[in-house]
Point group: C2
Chain length 191, copies 2
């Protein structure tokens, strides 16, 4: 599993064998069974995550209703707002599947960067890509109708539809499960 991280990092920067070992020796990988809550509303996040295998769902509790706001799957980083701002979390993070996840803490990250300074270069690159993705996602969400958003999702993340219940998908698309049902029906009719 460690080698997934090495491979991922190497897609941004070149690592020497020694540096690879430093990273491997971190031993920061854990396995969580399905439904594990990684972060609960109100808690202060002390960790950030990198999904090696599995799926983590971010959701808000809006008067008893769970509203999904993100799915994190393989090779995605999870940096909770609460982790960055050191404030109480507005949302939950929960494993939708058994998941293998690399954990980071501020201290350990700083330590690692001290040992391998060019990791900071990688962070900047990662952040650039992430923020570009965020922009595109936000723009799509704003400019597309619920039906278009659903169709877009089937193209951009088809895997999600197989591994995640539709009621989670619905709120992720900003609509109710009932609406999603109707949309799916509409689409299958017109084809």
């Amino acid at each position: 599993m460690d080698d997934f991280i090495i491979k991922y990092i190497s897609s941004f920067i070149e690592l020497t064998p020694e540096e690879e070992d430093i990273i491997r020796n971190q031993n920061l990988i854990k396995t969580f069974p399905k439904d594990t809550i990684l972060l609960a509303e109100g808690e202060h996040a002390r960790e950030c995550y990198f999904v090696l295998k599995g799926c983590v769902r971010r959701y808000h509790n809006r008067n008893g209703e769970e509203r999904t706001t993100e799915f994190y799957t393989e090779n995605q980083s999870i940096i909770p707002v609460s982790y960055t701002t050191k404030s109480a979390s507005e949302y939950f993070l929960s494993c939708v599947e058994d998941s293998v996840i690399a954990l980071g803490t501020n201290e350990r990250n700083d330590e690692l960067i001290k040992q391998i300074p060019k990791l900071e270069t990688m962070l900047v690159q990662m952040a650039s890509v992430m923020q570009a993705n965020n922009q595109v996602e936000m723009d799509n969400f704003k400019n597309l109708t619920p039906e278009e958003r659903y169709l877009n999702l089937t193209e951009t993340r088809p895997d999600l539809l197989n591994r995640v219940p539709l009621n989670y998908i619905a709120t992720y698309l900003g609509i109710t499960p009932e609406s999603l049902s109707r949309i799916r029906k509409r689409i299958s009719r017109n084809r």
Copy 2:
């Protein structure tokens, strides 16, 4: 104007007087009159921006209709997706007001970082804050109704309502100007 940048950077990292001079000597500040198009759809962005004064609007052209997706005001960075991905831009960037803007290019940024390596540390911090903000904005947009989004905007960015036409605000909220009119009416009635 240069000192706004110095001040902003200093809120992340400490600069020596020499480093401040390096930054000041960049001379990367320009003034653009209202309605200047900084980036057009289809173009390849070669610059990123930092708004010192004024307001820049990001918008997509969706079959003839302009759909606003962001307003950038004082102390906000604009990093076009096109700049990051080196692909054709999906959207326009246009000055809503006469604006004073600091420009960055890949080459110049790299050069600057070579001279002041700790700027990279600042970039990581800036990126963290930006991505936390992005998350919160996305979550709000997904979880709130159009009316709630409008009310939220009046609280989080009240300045925008005075400096930007309502039809821009409407599409920024993901609704039509007609809908926004109705919402504003509804709100003023119930108060």
